[in-house]
Each structure stands twice: as structure tokens, then as C-alpha cells.
Amino acid sequence: MINKRCFLVTAYCDNPEKVLALKTCLTQLQKYNTDIILFSHYPIEEDIYNLTSHAIYDYSNPIIELDGSRSMVNFMRRNLDGINLKFNTHSFDYGFAAAQQIKRGLLYADDIGYNEAFVINYDLIIPDEFMDEMNVMLEDHDSIILNYGEGQKGEDIIGQFNKRIYMALFALKIKPFINNLKSISLEDYYNKVGDDIVEGYLYPLFLNENSIEIARKDWEGNQDNRKIHTSMVMEGDVLPNFKKPDYSWFLGHEIQYIGDKRVDNNHQLFMLWDIKKDLNVEICIDGKVVNTSFIPKKNGYHTIQLPIEHNQLYVLKDKIKITINGWIIPEGEIKKNLKSSIEACYNE
């Protein structure tokens, strides 16, 4: 029997750049003469349908909001006066939404008669040679997993989990994984993901004794010669979120690293840097002014320790008002940074 194959393209294209990336991806896939199922959690423009055989728009998009249960870490690094700092922010956990897309997309593909699928993120660029390699490998294997976790350790606090699936591209025969696909649910995700991310949650679900794993170095290539890569950066540089014309700001709790040991001292810090003009800062908590500071331009950066502990921030989040030269940090920005942290003296 010849296996009937499809490409399952997963998408969330909420701006013109992403829509263009999706169109480019779908257009490039046409040359393989393989049916395309597009699965999107964002409405699809009419002309895109013509590039697909099947398309599904699913409104549900189950993003786990910042209720303290789950979040995604993004970070940026700065060196201020020789002190290495790492600013960690937390955003919504899109992981389960992505897992659900894959679940529903693959189950649909199976139900309408496809036996094999290449799961492809909308902004992925795959060289022909790599596609050919995967094509050959899928003949003898139930799934092809591009290991995503390995190599991350040492770069990222959460990089300690080295068994992860690269969700932007993997291939599988669908039937052997039907039960695993059906097991994906929000409850299961909460139960199993722990401190890991969705790539770690999905990894065992697409792995069996007849799977083949490709090491990260073998699919990623090096910086000068990327084998496959995405054209969009979902959550890359978070600095712009905190950048104002005359300064940058950040609200986070302090984490120190002493040797390899992480120490959370529960201090809640407010930090300013890249200061280009004199700043007047006022911090109020529950209607009371708890700090006023004049920070001259020449200082370059400044740190204020709030008179509350970090774990009090969740309770007081609606009652904190920080004003910088008359600009009040929006309440929403405060709430987005309830879990944010500033790592000092982290180990290189």
C-alpha cells in the first residue's frame, strides 16, 4: 500500500509579516505535489485557501494566561558597569494551543484518509535536500524527531530538559501515534509538563521504538549555514517592551547565582538603565508613596528595591503605581511582569 501523505501546516498569522511568511511557506510546498492541510487559530485570508487542499480555522486557541500556573520565559542580557545581568520576562504559555493544533490537525488528517504527515510551522524554510532526507527516513521509521532540547543547557535556566521535539518540523506515520494524540488535553498538559515547555511535553508522545531522532547540530547547522530555520521570531528580543526614548526600565525579583547554586532572595527590584536624561521616579503602593528618587543622567543606571517582598507582588499588583518623569507604567505592564526576574552575576 502506498501511504497517502499530507503536510500539516500550523499557523497563527496575526500580522502582515506572518501572513507573508505563511504564503511563502505554502507556495514553496506546492512543488512537492503533496496535499496541504492548513490549521490556524487565527482567521485566514481568502486567497490563502487556494494554496491548500484543506484548511481549518479553530477559534479556540487555548492560551494559558498569566494566572501564575504557567508562563513562557523570554530573556535579554546586559552588562552594566561590568556586572552581568539577565532580565527574564514571562509571557502567556502558547504551548498547549500549539499542541492542540497538532492534535486536532493530525487526527483530522487521519480521519480523512492520510497515513503520513509532515508537521510544518508556517514560517519554516526547509531546503530540498533536508526534505529528501526526511522522505527517505520516513520509509523505515514511524516518526522523525528533530531533537530540540540538546545543546540548550547552559544557555537557558530551563534548558536542563534536553529531550524535546522541534515542533516546527517533524514527520510521522499517524496511526502508531493515534492514542498518544488523543491523550493530549489541557489536564494532561498541566499534569505532565511540570517545569518544562510544550516541546518537552510532546516529545514522548511522538516517540516509539521505531522513531529516529536527529541531533540538533545535524538539523540546525551552524550560524553561517542554517539547514532549516524559521523566518519569524516569536519571542525574541524583549528589550523593546521596556525601552523608552530616554531610558529602559524593568520590574523583577532578584535572583543571584552563587557558583552553580541559584538563590532567590525574594527582593522585588525596579531597575532603570540606558538613562539619557535626569529622571524623577515615584513609587506608590496602596496609595502611599514608598520611594522618590532623583536619578541624574550621569549615573547611567539605577536600581531601587521595593519595600515589599516578591511574593507580595501578586497580592498588591493592582495597587502599585510607578511614575517616571510623569509617565505612569501601565497597570497591564505591571501585571505582565509579576514573575519577571533579574539575575545578577549569573555564570557564563
Binding site: P43, I44, E45, E46, D47, I48, Y49, N50, T52, S53, H54, A55, I56, Y57, D58, Y59, S60, K103, R104, L107, Y108, D111, I112
Partner: protein, 305 residues
């Protein structure tokens, strides 16, 4: 989830149809129901963003002769010869069943307890827009013009099934089986349900659609002369029949004028130019009327040969 998911089958290739669809989506949403929309043609995000789920399938599997068609025939006599005229119209039945199949497949990973299917242009009522908890099949008039009641037939305009029974139904819809059988879409659908021993109630009220879909107007099935009523015209690949002439009419066939009083036929391959003279004695070419319509296959057979 306590509420049904309303699944809308659609093929909205005109603004008129899209407006009806949008109106029905809004009416369903206003009642608090989630909506799944299925289409074989792309729809704009203005429409798809109104629903919870949109399933697009490019295939639009219209069946045509000889695979399966809607076959009509007419026995008649022209110039003392008995003819059988027959027409094979495309069968659109599987397109609706395919939409049910695709919607059913997608619903496999959803968690609604009941699925209410409607056609995009159904005349919605408060009774239809309610939370159905039992399997239902609806009926519509066989002949819409029959204002005095008339026969009712099962309809795919509106039906409701539990998630368990929907699964049994959509998996049993098989194109080859439908194409090879003689049943119409609605009969095939109800046969599947009966063969699976699925219990259902008949929805007590008659259902109807808002827009009338016809592949061809009734008056044009046996007459392709849409330009005037001087005569009627029917043809297949070989023969052209001109019949029911209103009085004597001067034709021009292959550059020769000839007056005809009665029905007549001409061989298509031997007659490349055919026209008639109108009331102003102006020659009107009828060759454009003889262009084959890929949707309609016609056959002419002389029965007393």
C-alpha cells in the same frame, strides 16, 4: 459542554448567498451557540471570523455522468418518429455528504455532546435554534410549489445527532458506495442511519430553505432556445432537433434559406451554420445556443429504429 455545536453546510458563491449565511450565523451566535462552518470554496475572514470553527475542503466533489448523475428523459414524437430525449445533470448530492463527512471528522476532537447540522440558507426558527438532545431528522416538501401540502421527503437541511451517532454516520458515508448506487443524497443518508440502527425522531415541523438552487430552470431542461419562443431546441453531440414551431419559420441552414412548418432535425456535423429570420426578417444565428454545457450531458435516441 452543554450546548449543541451548530454545523453549517455551505456553498456560497454569490453575495446573495453570503448575506443569507451571515444572517444565519449571527442568529445562531445570538442564541449562544458555537458554530462550525464547512465550505468547498474559500470564504473571507469577515465571514470565518464570525464562527468558532471553519473547515475548508477544496475537493467539491460533484459527480457527473457516467459516474452518477440526475437522469431525466422524455419520450416524444417528432414528424411521426418516436424519440427519447435524455439529460444527465450533475449530481451535487455527494458534495453535501462530503461536507457532513469532513465536519464529522473534525468534530471527533471536539467535546460537544450533540451536533446540529443545517444548510446555510435554512429558514431558522426558534424551534430549530434550540438545544437538541435527541437524534432528529427533518422533512421538507418534495414539490416546493405545492402550497397544499404535498409529499414530504427527508432533508439534509436540518438534522441533529449525538456525538456517538455522528461518528457512526460520517464514517459510513462512502463516495464509491453512493456513486455506484441509485439513491439520491437524502435517501442514501437515511439508509445509512437506518442500517446503523440509529434511533431518531422525525422533527415534527416542516423545514424549508430561503434560496432556490437549480442547476437548470425547469423550462430549459428540454429547450435550449433561451432567446425567443418561436421554436424549441434540443441537441446532443450528433443531432439538433427544432420542434414546436410557432407557425412557419424561415431558417437558414448552411447558407440556404428554407421555410419549415413542422418539427425537424438536422445532423450536427453536416450543418455548420444554422439561423432563423426574426419578425424583422433579420437573420439570427443559433449556433451560440448549441455550445455544450459541461454540466449537462444530453442524448437523443430514435426509438422506432
Amino acid at each position: 459542554m452543554s450546548k449543541n455545536l451548530f454545523c453549517i453546510l455551505s456553498h456560497c458563491d454569490s453575495d446573495e448567498k453570503k448575506l443569507v449565511l451571515i444572517d444565519n450565523i449571527n442568529r445562531i451566535k445570538n442564541k449562544g451557540f458555537d458554530v462550525l462552518l464547512v465550505s468547498h470554496i474559500p470564504l473571507s475572514s469577515d465571514i470565518t471570523s464570525l464562527v468558532n470553527y471553519f473547515v475548508y475542503d477544496r475537493s467539491n466533489p460533484i459527480l457527473r455522468y457516467p459516474q452518477k448523475s440526475l437522469h431525466m428523459w422524455w419520450h416524444t414524437t417528432f414528424n411521426n418518429e418516436e424519440y427519447e430525449l435524455s439529460t444527465h445533470l450533475p449530481d451535487y448530492g455527494w458534495t453535501a455528504l462530503n461536507q457532513i463527512k469532513k465536519a464529522g471528522a473534525f468534530c471527533e476532537s471536539l467535546e460537544y455532546s450533540n451536533y446540529t447540522f443545517i444548510n446555510y440558507d435554512i429558514q431558522l426558527t426558534d424551534e430549530i435554534l434550540s438545544n437538541h438532545n435527541s437524534n432528529l431528522l427533518s422533512q421538507t416538501k418534495l414539490n416546493k410549489k405545492d402550497s397544499k401540502g404535498g409529499d414530504l421527503i427527508f432533508s439534509t437541511l436540518f438534522f441533529n445527532f449525538s456525538s456517538i451517532d455522528l461518528k457512526k454516520i460520517w464514517k459510513s458515508l462512502i463516495m464509491e458506495e453512493y456513486a455506484n448506487g441509485k439513491l439520491l443524497c437524502e435517501n442514501y443518508f437515511t439508509d445509512i442511519i437506518n442500517n446503523k440502527d440509529i434511533d431518531y425522531k422525525i422533527y415534527p415541523l416542516e423545514v424549508d430553505d430561503q434560496l432556490d438552487f437549480k442547476i437548470i430552470n425547469d423550462g430549459e431542461i428540454w429547450n435550449f432556445n433561451t432567446g425567443n419562443d418561436y421554436f424549441r431546441l434540443f441537441f446532443d453531440d450528433e443531432v439538433i432537433i427544432l420542434y414546436m414551431l410557432k407557425g412557419d419559420i424561415k431558417f437558414n441552414i448552411n447558407d440556404t434559406d428554407i421555410i419549415k412548418y413542422n418539427d425537424f432535425s438536422v445532423n450536427r456535423s453536416q450543418n455548420k451554420n444554422i439561423g432563423y429570420y426574426d419578425l424583422d426578417n433579420k437573420l439570427v444565428d443559433i449556433m451560440p445556443l448549441l455550445k455544450n454545457n459541461s454540466n449537462i450531458i444530453t442524448k437523443i435516441k430514435i426509438l422506432n429504429d
